[in-house]
């Protein structure tokens, strides 16, 4: 039908623009992210590996996780994305140069405490808020 034809035309424009945006998105992502949906990547900083065990009393290190991956559409079931991100993805696909892509960023952060000596051998217990990424999602 006309509508479906128009839809096809639209779709071809979509797919065209999508291809364009796909091309642009390929350049935006380094190769590894292309296949990975947005998620948390584990990374651990060991104070001992850094040779700091003479002045850091606790902990032995901390989880320096980071978020990486693509906020693509359609979203698969387990990926955490807000409706805004879904709409933004769609609009971005129509106007890639005007509407930024939703970004993969932390959705939950935890604090850690670090116990260490200062230069005068005093002891400092410091709380670092929002230090550890617990979950990622598309914003």
């Amino acid at each position: 039908s006309a509508t479906s034809k128009r839809k096809n035309q639209n779709r071809s424009r979509y797919t065209q623009s999508q291809d364009v945006s796909r091309v642009s998105s390929v350049t935006d992502y380094n190769s590894s992210d292309l296949k990975t949906a947005c998620r948390k990547h584990e990374l651990y900083v060991s104070f001992q590996d850094l040779g700091w065990q003479d002045w850091i009393i606790a902990p032995k290190g901390y989880a320096a996780n980071y978020c990486g991956g693509e906020c693509s559409f359609p979203l698969n079931a387990h990926m955490n994305a807000t409706n805004h991100a879904i709409v933004q993805t769609l609009v971005h696909l129509m106007n890639p140069e005007y509407v930024p892509k939703p970004c993969c960023a932390p959705t939950k952060l935890n604090a850690i405490s670090v116990l260490f000596f200062d230069d005068n051998s005093n002891v400092i217990l410091k709380k670092y808020r929002n230090m550890v990424v617990r979950a990622c999602g598309c914003h």
């Binding site: 405490s113 000596f117 005093n122 217990l125 410091k126």
Partner: protein, 273 residues
Amino acid sequence: QGSLVNSSRRSGMDSGFLYRRLKSHEKREMQKEILSILGLPHRPRPVHGLSPAQQHQPGKLNSAPLFMLDLYNAMSGQEQGVDTKGWSQSHQLKVKSLLSSPQDSAFLNDADMVMSFVNLVEYDKELSPRLRHHKEFKFNLSQIPEGEAVTAAEFRIYKDCVMGSFENQTFLISIYQVLAEHRTRDTEFFLLDTQTVWATDEGWLEFDITATSNLWVMNPQHNLGLHLSVETKHGQNINTRAAGLVGRDGPYDKQPFMVAFFKASEVHLRTTR
């Protein structure tokens, strides 16, 4: 170790993160970055840091780091693998009190930073010019990061059990802030806190010095230290050691120290690098 291992091959994930040993300049860069995240201008080089033995047995820590580790465990809500057997009874009680009393633990959780200070007085002039027994203590509070306000501070000194002639006695222990020292006349003091204890009592005594600590942070030139003296119930001034009080020459896990709790008045934004 030293080989290029592409983690995607190893664990099937495609983060493309390469695992290999860092070169020395990369390691230095990484250290600088993490120090910056921790808000430290450089890597501290404490003279009395953690000895190799203490790194593996926290129970061998000096009194202040040991107390701070109690707070750390109370704050992070789980034991960091420290065997509490090594803790003195009072330390275990302290952690339990920090966790149990709602006021204390809310107080601890509210703090952004807790800091313990080593006593800078090298020698104990036990007798004052007027032959009064006393102990002197001094702490350097001039290195506090900008914008940190003291919400509470306490001076902690350990008391051993005393038997013999004082056995059924009580002692009045007083802590003073030194206001001014004069060459030709007596030192001026301001009474901060007193406690009455039995000669046979044993454990950590805590004296509230919050107001004084705030003054010292704001005006370091007023920081002339603390004096502590002991009297019997008859008002007789006695030697602090005879009363069972442990000084800086006592066992390393019972030496006196000061601890202060801070709340940041502004958010420290890390400069981008």
